[in-house]
């Protein structure tokens, strides 16, 4: 069982370049999230999705776009990368809060992270 898989694991970009991070989960989770992790800041929510075809802004959405065309995939895009977007990006997934209590413990399942450097 792969769980949550992120690709690529590492990427170096030049300022102004674009790229897409892919997240895939095989647990049939309704909810998916993108967080960024910076030293001393903990994890901050960028965007999230509560189901296929839906997305919503999190705490720090500027400079990012997302799409959820399939239930198992959640894409994070950077249209014009900036040095401030140098970070480690984590995708996570979870069951919907509407699920039966025994299925929904409210926990998030995380990928291993994607380290992005913008020069």
């Amino acid at each position: 069982n792969a769980g949550v898989t992120q690709t690529p694991k590492f990427r170096v970009l030049k300022t102004g370049q674009s790229m897409t991070l892919l997240c895939a989960q095989d647990m049939n989770h309704e909810y998916m999230y993108w967080y960024r992790q910076d030293p001393g800041m903990g994890l901050r929510l960028i965007h999230y999705s509560v189901g296929e075809g839906t997305t919503a802004k999190g705490e720090v959405p500027d400079g990012y776009n997302v799409s959820r065309l399939k239930k198992q995939n959640f894409l994070l895009g950077l249209e014009s990368a900036a040095p401030s977007q140098t970070s480690v990006y984590f995708c996570a997934s979870s069951y919907s809060s509407n699920r039966a209590p025994r299925l929904n413990t409210g926990e998030l399942f995380f990928g291993e992270g994607s380290r992005l450097t913008v020069l």
């Binding site: 994890l43 929510l45 979870s94 995380f110 992270g113």
Partner: protein, 112 residues
């Protein structure tokens, strides 16, 4: 601003000792969760405590929640070198859907 602040930022103990980490949050919550992150890896869920619970145990982990003080603590008993990691609290804010807001983390080092 961060919903969760953790204390201490770093903690170094000897194997066999207990480790206590504290988390404070700002607004009403449905539940509070603790996660562990090994260096260079993703976060792994450890334990969840609901707002109507005061204490919960899981193996060597003990979590307490004081909603009147908006604080939680994680105790790891009889620590092992393998417990060396960063620990994060995450709160599910009331009315915030299934989103979690993470604290800044405590770096725990357990020395032999």
């Amino acid at each position: 601003s961060q919903q969760g602040e953790e204390d201490p930022q770093a903690l170094s103990i000897q194997e066999g000792e207990n480790a206590t980490m504290n988390c404070s949050y700002k607004t009403s919550i449905n539940n509070l969760q603790w996660y562990r992150q090994n260096s260079g890896r993703g976060l792994v869920h450890l334990i969840l405590i609901r707002s109507n619970e005061r204490e919960k145990h899981s193996g060597r982990l003990r979590v307490t929640l004081d909603t009147s003080k908006k604080s939680s603590s994680l105790l790891i008993t009889a620590s092992r070198a393998a417990d060396t990691a960063s620990y994060f609290c995450a709160s599910r804010i009331t009315g915030g859907g299934n989103k979690l807001t993470f604290g800044t983390g405590t770096q725990l080092k357990v020395e032999l």
